[in-house]
Symmetry: C2
Subunit: 262 residues, 2 copies
Amino acid sequence: MRAPDVTSGGDPARTLALLWREPSTAARRGPQRGLNLDAVIEAATAVTDTEGLTGLTMRRVAQELRVSPMTLYTYVPGKAELLDVMLDAAYARMSRTDTTGQPWRVRLTAVAEENRALFTTHPWTATVSTLRPPLGPGAIAKYEHELTALDGLGLDDVEMDDCLTLLLSFVQANARVAADAHATARLTTVTDEQWWAAAGPLLARVLDPAAYPLASRVGSAAGAAHGSAHDPAHAYEFGLRRLLDGLATLIERATPAASGNS
Amino acid sequence: MRAPDVTSGGDPARTLALLWREPSTAARRGPQRGLNLDAVIEAATAVTDTEGLTGLTMRRVAQELRVSPMTLYTYVPGKAELLDVMLDAAYARMSRTDTTGQPWRVRLTAVAEENRALFTTHPWTATVSTLRPPLGPGAIAKYEHELTALDGLGLDDVEMDDCLTLLLSFVQANARVAADAHATARLTTVTDEQWWAAAGPLLARVLDPAAYPLASRVGSAAGAAHGSAHDPAHAYEFGLRRLLDGLATLIERATPAASGNS
DNA sequence: TCTATACGCTGTACAATGTACAGCGTACGA
DNA sequence: TCGTACGCTGTACATTGTACAGCGTATAGA
């Protein structure tokens, strides 16, 4: 199969059974199982945390569990489904701050921070597609928790989903850049700073500042402000502030009373 | 090399020479070249447009050009560099609307639309990392053009870059979802609607609405509103409006006079 | 004009990946 | 007690990027 960075092209029923740990119907015959799904998830997650998504191979996980590669297929239908359950497990383990009664900005900031923490702990979660999210207990609990931060603000159901989608999409896009930086550094041994340090002078030789005045001025100003050309931490602070300002006009129209609404 | 979806781990000098079409220094000896870089770029882009990033293989491009796979390496150092020049060429071909004198919201909306058009024409451009952008003529011209939309609004250089980064990051994140949907459909033959149609009832069986009241209510409301669980077009409209609202508080603080500043 | 050399192009080869398949042995239901 | 379902494994294959060496060509220098 190609490009299994996305939920199974396989049977949704099989995947859901896996996610919700539905016990197999028939009585077990044959040898005892030497492992269980959670052990596989744990090993795979450990590998991917330290070696990145490209380091996640069936052979590598099997080696970690001191088992032959094909053994994994008794616990999981394939690599795509393994990623599904890994992701749901990561969601399940996220910390969920209770911000009831606090102003909505505080509540949404907490949601953003919780996801940011996820992407920091497990950088690979930022780079997998969430087009077809793993519909397991972890993802559902996460969704429920995050929706409560948007509850009681006078938004209708669709708007609640819209706001949450926008917020999470921002945090993920931001984290993806950081994750890419990590992955690239691991694969090429040339760090981002080194790359820009090498490319900068070369670019200056071919780039005519008269032809591209704004690009050269703003580009070098931005490059000087943060160390590199892109500073994810700065972009996060800036973006989150703008985004909350943007949501404010929607939320405070829905609840004219309060910028400090609970 | 693994994961070459990102700019060359190779020599930045070589890549820049390629991007700016620097002529080789020495006099050419030996047979005439049967192709040129632009022909390779064109063929590779055509393949990737129709078959996705996973369809972009050196063998496939070579076949398109009626040439043996290894021949490509006379025109390009490797696949990563090929992607670089493909991306820069796509940037170079983007349409750039002149919106001088128009209100800033119109100008920024035009920038967003131009990028959206790029991601529609070449979906793969939405899924490659822009951590280390191809520093070629296309990318520079694009950057210069987009900065002019933010010029004269009273923002300092770093703020201009911040705003542009945020806007482009939003449009790309949105397009990436659509691109993923396309790619997934091509690889699995089960469309998004079919997948949700299969997963929905199965999920209803394991999901307790009492335990997750908001998730089930809002989830089904959102699912009903758009056809699927995620509607990129709707998310784009919603997100862009919020984002511009968010930038407004920054821009109109910088230029207190005008919400219709030129 | 002759010739050596740089260069375009190609076939072969290798390592890495996911996983299909068949065989071997085990422990439980009958 | 015995047959069978199932856990586990080794082998094998298709697909990828690309290193390497060989072959032939057209030009620079004689």
